[in-house]
């Protein structure tokens, strides 16, 4: 029988799928607009509007808000994976992927690897905007790379969660509204923009339960001390656990679709 001699490996398949998603993005550059416009807009608005009220000045506020906006942008970039996957599923292309002799995780992994480019762009935009507004962290450039990578990895781990939501939801617009609400609640009910002690007791409890708070704390600690902290290790560990839980769940949901 004249079928192909070998099946592509998982890594090759994933690379091809990632290439496909990158091509789609290159043909539609507007897919990057949200991760570029949003951090710039929020950084400027929050910095100049609330800087004086919260920290007594824009410069004093920047060490608080730069990690805050960085994480908010990660959340919003990660949440983009959900609707994207739903759209793909609805378009019929995934039927073909499924009927191909390749590993079932490849289409998902490919999507999420390509999405990590969004995370990288979002990170660079956030940090550059901060820098242009006068943010000058005391630690060396190496540590900036470390917090950037930590933020990107956290965003990537979260995109598996949003991918699962995308796979389980009925329509792309349902995923979109869920993602938006999740992004808003998680980023504002945390220490991203305001010091925790300024909150009322019930809000403090919520903020302490919010995982985003811990990521932001970890980033701020690294930037303040120039050393890898216990919190940072914890965040990294939790990220790995999230991937280990939600990647198999996403593949399960994909198979079931």
């Amino acid at each position: 029988m004249d079928v192909q001699k070998h099946n592509g490996s998982l890594i090759m398949n994933t690379a091809t799928m990632a290439y496909r998603n990158l091509l789609k993005t290159v043909h539609n550059p507007d897919r990057f607009m949200d991760v570029i416009v949003q951090p710039v807009m929020f950084m400027l608005m929050f910095g100049y509007l609330f800087g004086g009220a919260i920290a007594g000045g824009v410069q004093a506020y920047l060490p608080t808000i730069v990690p805050g906006i960085l994480m908010q942008t990660m959340l919003s970039a990660a949440s983009g994976s959900g609707p994207q996957i739903r759209e793909d599923l609805d378009s019929g292309v995934f039927d073909r992927f499924k009927s191909l002799p390749m590993a079932h995780i490849a289409p998902l992994a490919g999507q999420l690897f390509a999405d990590s480019l969004r995370l990288v762009i979002a990170t660079i935009t956030s940090l550059t905007t901060g820098y242009l507004m006068g943010w000058r962290p005391a630690v060396g450039f190496g540590w900036i790379i470390v917090i950037a990578l930590l933020a990107i990895f956290t965003g990537w781990a979260l995109s598996w969660l949003f991918a699962l939501v995308g796979l389980l939801a009925k329509s792309a617009s349902a995923v979109q509204s869920f993602s938006l609400i999740a992004m808003l609640v998680l980023s504002f009910m945390s220490n991203a923009f305001v010091p925790l002690h300024s909150l009322t007791k019930p809000l403090q409890v919520i903020a302490h339960l919010n995982p985003v708070t811990y990521v932001i704390t970890a980033i701020r600690q690294i930037l303040a001390t120039g050393s890898w902290t216990h919190e940072a290790g914890l965040v990294l560990g939790v990220d790995v656990v999230i991937v280990l839980i939600f990647a198999p769940l996403a593949v399960w949901a994909y198979d079931r679709n």
Binding site: T16, R20, H27, S91, G92, R96, K98, P101
Partner: protein, 310 residues
């Protein structure tokens, strides 16, 4: 040992909620033939096809592709067929060439093989001139051609086509038929679903008629037509006053007569009967016009066998 069947479907069953959409369907497809699944909208054709192509899990029953169980040996079975779905399953945002390249790579072709195969298929399906344009600008026919090209990347011997010509204009449809015939000539086995009877008649070697999830009839188009009975005679009675007389005169000869306005139609057991009927009408001085004798068509089979209340 007899040649292995391209497909063996046995007792395939699927329920959505309480509704049984595919009900104990069994059939075999021999290598090298075109097998048509025919049925009205919602009869269960696509569901059957989706189960055969591992896109949907069956509640009961088994599908074997060249002797391999699609559940136990899913990946191997998947490597043996190409699928063209009902809705074009290609990427809208990227070009035809990029689509072919990506699917070729996903099918395990090396980069250079993929490039070569892409060029071949673009030529074969006359897509060279639009190869690098975004699919958004493609016509329905071009999209279908690309879709079919994608499922032929690995030169599968077995090809599933789910309503390959639905929504195409007559010219594009004929082109699609030519392509399908060419594939058969090259030795492919083809399973297609369709709701177009002429398409089934033109292309299929064997047909299975599905209605309400049940396989109601199977056979060659000729066999199915034969079951309906003989040729159909239709004519118009010139004077409306004579219609009733004509019906009364001929009913003992031919059995049931269908009447639409002044037109009468009836089944002939033998073509010779025509002589007797014409003589009888002549003797009774009933003038007729627009006489026609038609061989039974698949339309008749279809109408006869399906309830069509989906």
């Amino acid at each position: 040992m007899a040649a292995i069947n391209a497909i063996e479907v046995s007792h395939l069953t699927k329920q959505f909620g309480k509704k049984t959409v595919v009900d104990d369907v069994s059939f075999k497809v021999r290598p090298g033939e075109v097998f048509g699944l025919l049925g009205p909208n919602g009869a269960g054709k696509t569901t059957t096809l989706r189960m055969m192509t591992t896109l949907l899990k069956a509640d009961a029953g088994q599908v074997m592709i060249f002797g391999h169980d699609t559940v136990k040996e899913g990946r191997l079975a998947r490597s043996m067929f190409g699928l063209t779905g009902q809705y074009a399953s290609v990427d809208e945002d990227i070009s035809a060439r990029e689509n072919l390249m990506i699917f070729a790579r996903l099918n395990g072709l090396s980069r250079s093989d993929a490039k070569q195969r892409t060029t071949e298929l673009l030529n074969e399906f006359s897509l060279v001139n639009s190869a690098d344009k975004a699919l958004k600008n493609f016509s329905g026919g071009m999209r279908r051609r690309l879709d079919l090209a994608v499922s032929l990347i690995t030169r599968p011997t077995l090809i599933f086509l789910d309503e390959p010509t639905t929504g195409l204009d007559p010219r594009t449809r004929t082109q699609m038929w030519d392509t399908i015939r060419r594939l058969v000539k090259q030795g492919s086995t083809i399973i297609l679903t369709t709701q177009y009877l002429d398409e089934a008649d033109q292309l299929a070697d064997h047909l299975a008629i599905i209605d309400h999830g049940k396989l109601v009839k199977m056979g060659t188009p000729a066999e199915l037509k034969q079951q309906i009975g003989g040729s159909k005679l239709t004519f118009k009675v010139c004077q409306t006053a004579q219609i009733t007389a004509a019906v009364q005169l001929l009913t003992p000869q031919v059995g049931q007569i269908q009447q639409t306005d002044s037109a009468l139609s009836m089944r002939l057991n033998q073509v010779n009967q025509l002589n007797t009927i014409l003589t009888m009408l002549n003797q009774a001085k009933i003038k007729i016009t627009q006489l026609a004798v038609q061989e039974p068509s698949l339309d008749d089979v279809f109408m006869d066998l399906t309830v069509g209340k989906n």
